[in-house]
Symmetry: C2
Subunit: 257 residues, 2 copies
């Protein structure tokens, strides 16, 4: 399902390839499926899976293998994400209580958004975002904020490649996007009006740590009911308060990778 270009010739490379071949919604995958996705030899995948199970990185199920709790534990020790998350949670809760809309916290990694937290109530908004998941920069509110307040070289590299059209509303003209980004830099707020998924509207504001823009928070709702303009004040207030704490604590700043 994914092709990794680095080091498939080493054991470690093969093992990570297997682990990463699990998509975000997957439950248990049978051996043959892993063979298909990774392109590795059947015996190799079999042997490695055995070992990964012994190491508690995979778990055996009747229908195949799944990523195990050991990986969850390990992942939650990644310091950059965890530090930001622990700092942010009380603020995200504030925002949720004031609005009762879905709250996201996202960071930049490479040229994509990675969602670090998602807080939502019972009202189901069928948004494609998931914690630990990725989305493009140009069609999400958080992404556009990161684009606007991030490194200029990033802006250039994103604008130089063709932009993927996700919905009829996705901004794919580099000129329009560039203009939008400039406006976002001025206003400090970005919108996503069904640009990443139909029926979904978002607003986002930047979080500025001790060393520049590092992350963003957003509110998400269904296009009909959800009025993003109404929540701009609360969103920005939260973003500013959280940014202050980040700076005060000398937050090291989120660095992708």
């Amino acid at each position: 399902m994914r092709d990794v270009t680095v080091g498939t010739e080493t054991v470690l490379g093969k093992a990570t390839l297997i682990l990463r071949s699990f998509a975000i919604g997957d439950q248990a995958l049978p051996l043959a499926e892993l063979v298909r996705r990774t392109g590795l030899h059947k015996a190799t995948v079999y042997r490695l899976c055995q070992e990964l199970v012994a190491l508690r990185l995979l778990a055996r199920e009747s229908s195949g293998y799944r990523l195990s709790g050991g990986l969850f534990e390990l992942g939650m020790r990644a310091s950059a994400e965890r530090g930001l998350l622990e700092l942010a949670i009380p603020f995200l809760l504030d925002l949720y209580e004031r609005t009762h809309e879905t709250v996201h916290l996202g960071v930049l990694d490479g040229a994509e958004v990675v969602y670090v937290s998602k807080i939502n109530g019972h009202r189901q908004v069928r948004s494609p975002s998931r914690v630990g998941g990725r989305m493009p920069l140009h069609c999400t509110a958080i992404g556009k904020v990161l684009l606007a307040f991030g490194d200029p070289s990033l802006r250039q590299s994103v604008l130089s490649k063709p932009l993927e059209r996700r919905t009829p509303h996705t901004i794919v003209a580099p000129g329009s996007l560039s203009k939008a980004v400039t406006a976002i830099r001025r206003t400090g707020v970005a919108f996503d009006r069904e640009e990443s998924a139909l029926g979904i509207t978002c607003v986002a504001a930047p979080l500025v740590g001790a060393d520049g823009a590092v992350a963003a928070i957003s509110l998400t709702g269904p296009t009909g009911r959800f009025r993003p303009e109404r929540h701009v004040a609360a969103l920005q207030a939260t973003a500013v308060a959280l940014s202050n704490v980040m700076v005060r604590r000398g937050f090291p700043g989120y660095r992708g990778g």
Copy 2:
């Protein structure tokens, strides 16, 4: 800092050993520290770290290595934890809004609690729990619930070993714990009155999935102000509602490992 007994003779074993040698609060660890913690040869750790960086499982910092965002992404795909988490979040939020106290969601893994979620406001409760972290069963509210509603063999094995004393209030007499567990089974609620950490009080209730008790939720607060008895009703109501949803969705059930 930790000794893993499996497969240190394979590359994969060594790599996981390195990754797991990061404790939960660690930022960046220098090479020498990793050598010390793992007991591996300097050149080996060096080589493996190089490769782990290339695979985006570690990140290079001026002061050493840290667990990278790639691990966070991977960890969030662990299906059992993620499935439970996504289902539970709206309910945990309800509970937080009603009480404004710290909410935990924990599951059983081996003979310990693993925290899957922690929701807290600005009021800092200096509790030792962290998402992805572990605590013993016998001295935490969630742990005692899991003990009470979990497999009888687990109960026996925990009671047969000497119980670690964490505070003067920790129940270390097997007889007393056994009695407490019986009471918990009857009442459906467990308390932790400064048994795991001084100044910390908790209440917990079980989550029962399609195939038996699989998890527990709890409320935590500072001993002085926090009155656990006042929140029992809200806690249990939330637990029941969430359990119902778990059963209705045929929640596969959390299985450790």
